[in-house]
């Protein structure tokens, strides 16, 4: 969008209203063509991502009471993605990135009826990552994407979490470590944990997903013991 800028709207706020309610009120009463995305209005679909007073957040889960009273509320689109119109951004890059990640590849079923025997403690880590609602707020806040625009070299926290869910799924047999190191740019993450802070699902993105993946990559490719071992074997 060319020449965009802030426009002021005044909305009467009642008990328990969230930012998305105010946007809807503006649409219904003042600007029917004001563009925004939303679906569930319950923090479950991850559509209404925006920046509220500069902070990436879901509009449907941000209550007006939590914002400073008497001051204007600044609502902006996510900055990391190109704007389509008003609060709507082009997030298609995320869908392209996801397609490139090697899909789930289960081991052969454990039982004759085609099922697997897996225990709750084995799936819990993967389940934490699968809570992700793909709101892309972690992508939005990540400075590698937001400030350095490394979209071609770095898949961002969302897809590191996605990869972690696959890698830590007890049934999966695929290996994605080489991709993580080279194509996906996991090394760009310098664990500032901004992504963890904005995650509306409270996924501990950095500690539970990214750092363990970094460790696996290091173990596979940079382990000094492994290198030493290769030196010993390389007799001519």
């Amino acid at each position: 969008m060319q020449g965009g800028g802030f426009k002021d709207y005044s909305v009467e706020v009642t008990d328990g209203m969230v930012v998305l309610d105010c946007i809807h009120k503006i649409q219904a009463e003042q600007a029917p063509d004001l563009a925004c995305r939303w679906n569930c209005k319950a923090g479950k679909c991850g559509s209404c991502s925006a920046e509220i007073n500069g902070k990436p957040a879901l509009m449907c889960m941000t209550r007006m009471e939590t914002l400073p009273p008497g001051e204007p509320v600044m609502v902006e689109p996510m900055q990391t993605f190109p704007i389509i119109r008003d609060l709507v951004t082009d997030v298609s890059w995320n869908y392209e990135v996801k397609k490139k990640i090697k899909p789930f590849k289960p081991r052969k079923p454990d039982n004759a009826d085609g099922t697997w025997t897996v225990f709750q403690e084995d799936v819990e880590r993967s389940q934490e990552f699968r809570k992700c609602i793909e709101c892309f707020l972690c992508q939005d806040v990540c400075h590698v994407l937001r400030d350095h625009h490394k979209h071609d070299e770095f898949i961002g926290p969302r897809f590191l979490v996605f990869t972690a869910a696959l890698e830590m799924n007890p049934l999966d047999t695929e290996n994605r470590l080489a991709d993580l190191k080279d194509r996906d740019g996991i090394g760009y993450c310098n664990i500032t944990k901004c992504c963890t802070k904005v995650c509306p699902e409270h996924i501990t993105i950095t500690d539970n997903a990214i750092i363990p993946l970094k460790e696996r990559v290091v173990d596979e490719f940079y382990d000094p013991l492994t290198m030493l071992f290769r030196v010993f074997r390389a007799r001519s």
Binding site: T14, D15, G16, M17, V18, D21, Q27, A28, P32, D33, L34, A35, C36, R37, W38, N39, C40, K41, A42, G43, K44, C45, G46, S47, M61, R63, I84, R85, D86, V88, V91, S92, Y95, K98, K99, P103, F104, P106, P109, D113, G114, T115, W116, T117, V118, F119, Q120, D122, V123, S126, Q127, R130, K131, I133, A165, L166, N169, L171, D172, H202
Partner: protein, 606 residues
């Protein structure tokens, strides 16, 4: 002039409209059968309403209670549906659901587990045994993400944020669809050998609903205007537990899983009012006291369910009664209490957060209520439509050749009332069937030319609101419709009020023809709202006319003027069709008698 000058035209063998569970499952199957398949999503991929499903997917796997099998599931579904269900669909559903769930695991879904390492199943209303495979209270998200991530590697063409305005027909057969993309507002034509509708429900016809903006009855309306028959439209499910406070979240779903985990309903006097009235059909299946109810929740096979786990239609009406008779909560609901289980189990707070994490966050963040220590305030909310496009129980094809329907948009499986958890299994079982049969149909379909007059007329209709920038605000018309349906065709219905509703709908039709919008075509929600009005008005009329025609109370329909079941009315479904003159025609379609072996199952399970 060729089509290509005015429209972006794409060719497919199978076109799936809707990308929730049913649409994605249909598309995966169609593609697996070798058909070039496209999926149209009204929103972004992965945001469809299926993500809101919380409690679980019903499948008689018998992982928790080995007495469960397809026969019990079949009879539970028929009993819940007041025996108006399509028996063929109910049988397929009960038999095939377990395989469809296991298949999800093979595609990457990560369900909660039993102690011996199987998929865990939980109790839910109307299901005799613990039957709902689940992931905490976010089962729908798990399903849609699994299908989405599997589907994108199956070579599907995905069209995100596009809306279908009309189905294209030739010689009575469906040959594609036309619509527009939200981003630029460009008109599009999708040519296809077969079309699968998987557009979900109609909740936005009501003011208080658990449904999102997308749920405007698009599929039902598209099918109806293309000549297909709708069925059972009078049966709209009001989920007993929606949030009632704060006002901005009124209607938001509170999963039945809360009751499955031991949550109880109380009125302002602290009384567990659900014990006060037990329906005849369930009198042998309900706990005699609170003690037995709790034992059932804990998995005691000799205990019967607590009355909170009766079917949704009944629970919603009991809540409605308490509120109307002045025993409600401060904000016009009743109390749902899960925190009380601390009297029974250690670490109850952690247990609740683990089992119901999104409910915990939803109440904490939106209402400032800690559900582990405080009771929730809940009341009925429009949730689901049992009726929809009438389809063949085996193939899911509608009465219009080439047009298929699966999931909420289709009628038949649930009869007069749906059991919780039977929706997610419905999506999988009939998504798979619709995908398979649409692919087969498309392979043998010949390519017909698009009727350019039809296309022009529909395009003109779609763009008309722009010619009336000073026209009436479409949001105001939508809101008036929602209020009328809420007040006049809600949980308790009467002839007088519904006749009033028909009158209102007639006036709103006139107003919607004058609706106008400002701005341009790019991502213009006002325009989209204006176009949704026809769909909402069509389904609202079908609901109201069908509800008037059914002069009895059964399942989700409660008539104050006909408060009991009638034997006469148990013999037919109500079918709605667009007449030659454009008016809505209704017909009683006789139900075929239950097949002898199925009748024996139903009898055995009584």
């Amino acid at each position: 002039m060729s089509l290509l000058d005015k429209y972006i035209v794409t060719e497919h063998e199978v076109l799936v409209i809707g990308a929730g569970g049913a649409g994605l499952r249909a598309a995966i199957e169609s593609s697996a059968h070798g058909a070039k398949t496209a999926v149209i999503c009204k929103s972004l991929l992965g945001k469809a309403h299926t993500v809101m499903a919380e409690g679980g997917v019903a499948a008689a796997m018998g992982n928790v209670d080995d007495r469960d099998n397809w026969e019990v599931h079949f009879s539970d579904t028929m009993r819940g549906g007041g025996y108006l269900n399509n028996q063929v669909m109910a049988e397929h559903h009960a038999r095939e659901a377990p395989a469809r769930v296991r298949e999800l695991e093979a595609w990457g879904a990560v369900f909660d587990r039993t102690k011996d390492g199987k998929i865990l199943q939980r109790n839910f209303g109307g299901h005799r045994y613990p039957r709902l495979a689940h992931v905490g209270d976010r089962t729908g998200l798990e399903m849609i993400r699994t299908l989405q991530d599997h589907g994108v590697h199956q070579g599907l063409d995905v069209y995100m944020e596009m809306t279908v305005v009309s189905l294209l027909t030739s010689g009575g057969r469906v040959i594609g669809a036309m619509g527009y993309d939200r981003e630029r507002g460009r008109m599009r034509v999708w040519r296809a050998g077969a079309v699968v509708l998987a557009t979900g429900g109609i909740g936005k016809a009501y003011r208080i609903t658990s449904n999102s903006w997308e749920y405007t009855g698009d599929g039902q309306s598209l099918a109806y205007h293309a000549g297909a028959e709708l069925m059972d439209m009078e049966f709209v499910q009001f989920h007993p537990t929606g949030m009632v406070w704060p006002p901005s979240v009124r209607g938001l779903l509170v999963t039945e899983g809360v009751r499955g985990e031991g949550g109880v309903l109380r009125n302002s006097e602290g009384r567990r009012f659900m014990f006060d009235e037990i329906p005849e059909l369930y009198k042998n299946q309900v706990a005699k006291d609170e003690e037995e109810g709790w034992r059932y929740v804990c998995g005691d096979k000799n205990a019967q369910r607590p009355p909170e786990l009766l079917t949704r239609d009944h629970v919603a009406r009991c809540i409605n009664r308490e509120i109307k008779e002045g025993r409600g909560s401060p904000h016009g609901g009743v109390f749902l209490d899960i925190g009380w289980i601390k009297e029974r189990i250690p670490n109850a707070q952690a247990h609740i957060k683990k089992k119901l994490p999104s409910m915990y966050h939803q109440f904490m963040q939106l209402a400032g209520v800690d559900i582990t220590t405080e009771a929730m305030e809940v009341g009925p909310t429009t949730h689901y439509v049992m009726g929809g496009v009438r389809v063949c129980g085996d193939t899911q094809m509608s009465s219009v050749p080439g047009l298929f329907a699966a999931g909420e948009v289709a009628a038949g499986l649930h009869g007069a009332n749906r059991l919780g958890g039977n929706s997610l299994s419905d999506l999988l079982v009939f998504g798979q069937r619709a995908g398979e049969h649409a692919a087969k149909f498309a392979k043998s379909a010949k390519s017909d030319a698009i009727d350019s007059q039809q296309l022009e007329a529909e395009t003109k209709r779609a763009l008309e609101p722009f010619e009336r920038p000073e026209g009436e605000n479409p949001y105001a018309i939508q809101s008036d419709l929602q209020n009328s349906m809420q007040e006049l065709v809600g949980i308790v219905r009467t002839q007088k009020e519904m006749e009033q509703a028909l009158d209102v709908i007639g006036k709103l039709k006139v107003r919607s023809a004058r609706a106008g919008i400002s701005g341009h075509r790019e991502y213009n929600p006002g325009w989209h709202t204006a176009l949704d009005l026809r769909n909402l008005l069509t389904v609202s009329e079908a609901i109201t006319r069908s509800a008037l025609e059914r002069k009895e109370s059964r399942g989700a329909q409660f008539r104050d003027d006909y408060p009991s079941r009638s034997d006469e009315c148990s013999k037919f479904n109500i079918v709605t069709r667009k007449g030659a003159d454009g008016s809505m025609q209704l017909e009683h379609r006789p139900l075929s008698p239950l097949r002898a072996d199925l009748a024996a199952i139903v009898e055995k399970m009584k």
